[in-house]
Amino acid sequence: MSATTSAAPTPRATNAPGRPRRVALLPTAALLLGALYCLLPVAWVVVAATKSGDELFSTFTFAPGGGLLENVSDLHGYRDGIYWKWMANSALYAGVGALLSCAVSALAGYALAIYRFPGRESVFNVLLAGVLMPPVILAVPQYLLLAEADLTDSRLAVLLPVLLSPYGIYLARIYAAASVPADVVEAARMDGSGEWRIFRSIAVPMMRPGLVTIFLFQFVAIWNNFLLPYIMLSDDEKFPLTLGLFTLLNQGSNTPALYTLVITGALLAVLPLIALFLVIQRFWSLDLLSGAVKS
């Protein structure tokens, strides 16, 4: 990977005259040290996934073994490939959940940013208070209520509660306010466009970078979710990766042979999201995650 920023001129060659560009060694070293710390467990799981069960606890931490393919095929064979079902479930929950949640957030954020209507600020404040609710105070009664509707242990039980994302709405409001000018909306109204049409064909394209951010944020949040499926699901055919790997680790304390499966599974679970971020950061800025909008 290229370690230089595109904006930084190559040293010496294109320096501004009279102001030599110094490299601060100590701070650079500190930054690299931080990067190293963040890479450490990821590097370890890459190496550990190549080790056989014996090698895992006997060879040096970062000494690679020769059993990667064997581990992957063991994982593939474990209970008729249930691991791939977990991965498909995670993709389903995160993909569908993030898409729907993004749509709900876009609608609400647009409404809060563009219209002046009675109750606007209270709606927003009530939603923000929702962020503060510990997930467990919601999850336990959610479980009991979904049990009444006979929906526990179903895919819907994991999907429905994540569709409303207060943070997503908060971001959507900021993006809508920053990227959809009021006079554009007014002009469209003058042309006789309906409110829904204005939203769909004018506002959504303008909000697109922000909506991509909300989608990604929700995708990661659902992909990483553990508590909700842990409470809702008991049929392991419906487990997402996090819950599947957790139960595998739990069984591993009795049968250590499962540890290599857990580690190989963890590697394969981490790779898709890392790949997603590496690809996406080329045309999408991380800064959007904290609600930053270029003016």
Binding site: L31, A108, R120
Partner: protein, 312 residues
């Protein structure tokens, strides 16, 4: 566009009702999955199960009004209090270290003399993409004496190796997982705020002869205080709700009880102990503490920023 001469009155009405239409999905979801569960939790928390006679048969158990008995039970439960203290100790490590590192790295990213900034930014953010459960699992293995590179290194040197999963070290080990996972996101939030600082401010600091360190301490940090407040606030809330990491580490050590954190206690009461009512009361207490802390903190923070703005 079609229908340019649609009657004006009708259009005004649709403009007035449109926001409610756009907010309808949000309202339905909020009622079903936020308001209703919270109301139900409150209801459950003031009820209890009474056993009639021998407690056998369908009529043997009856739900009755319990008043505040469940709350009294929760507040005097020594397990819950111990859990709260453990989480306090854990938070006392996580929040300052994580935010300190996030601020430090954000300042480094904002310093043009530092090389490898793009690489550093991406790499330090990377753990955000790793689920908390998997992060706990990876670090959990790295804490095992037979796997840990630290243990290996210390033994080669003939030094005694610490056990990462017992005693006070366990707090550090748990905190490390949260710090590893959370620093990147907070760094991005602070870095975004730093980049939004006006160019004139940097220029002025440079012309005044400030070193990068002085600029950071006297100019940049005070100016990004609001985003520091925000990250502090969210870190505290996340810390109070710690659940995934200790739950995931449990299979690897005997030193984590099923009620290590207050949320684990709620889960334990509700789903293993089968005592929904005291679980609901405990959950309400945790929610109240979170709300009081957050609003108290927000008030304090906004009052402070206002005072400083007035003083300028």
């Amino acid at each position: 566009m079609s229908a340019p001469d649609r009657p004006r009155r009708r259009r005004g009405a649709s403009v007035r009702s449109a926001p409610y239409g756009f907010l309808a999905p949000t309202a339905v979801l909020f009622l079903l999955f936020f308001a209703l569960p919270i109301g139900y939790a409150l209801y459950l928390s003031v009820r209890k199960v009474q056993i009639k006679g021998l407690g056998l048969g369908p009529d043997g158990r009856e739900e009755v009004w319990a008043g505040l008995a469940n709350y009294r039970g929760a507040l005097t439960d020594s397990e819950l209090l111990d859990g709260a203290l453990r989480v306090l100790g854990y938070g006392a490590i996580v929040v300052p270290v994580m935010l300190g590192l996030a601020l430090f790295f954000a300042l480094l990213l904002d310093d043009e003399q530092v090389r490898g900034r793009r690489f550093g930014r991406l790499t330090i953010f990377l753990p955000y993409a790793v689920p908390g459960v998997i992060a706990a699992l990876l670090w959990g293995f790295l804490y095992l004496p037979s796997v840990s590179p630290v243990t290996d290194a210390l033994e080669t040197l003939g030094l005694p190796a610490p056990d990462f999963l017992t005693g006070p070290a366990l707090y550090g080990s748990l905190a490390n997982i949260a710090i590893w996972g959370g620093t990147g996101f907070n760094m991005i939030v602070i870095y975004t705020a730093l980049r939004a600082l006006p160019v004139e401010v940097r220029e002025a600091a440079r012309l005044d002869g400030c070193t990068p360190l002085q600029t950071a301490l006297r100019v940049k940090i005070p100016m990004v205080l609001p985003s520091l407040v925000l990250t502090f606030f969210f870190s505290i809330i996340a810390t109070l709700q710690v659940f995934n990491e200790p739950t995931t580490l449990r299979p690897l050590t005997n030193n984590l009880s099923t009620t290590w954190s207050p949320l684990m206690k709620v889960y334990q009461d509700a789903f293993t102990g089968g005592d929904i009512h005291s679980a609901a009361a405990t959950a309400v207490v945790i929610a109240l503490v979170t709300l009081v802390l957050s609003f108290g903190f927000l008030r304090l923070a906004t009052a402070r920023t206002r005072r400083e703005e007035n003083a300028r």
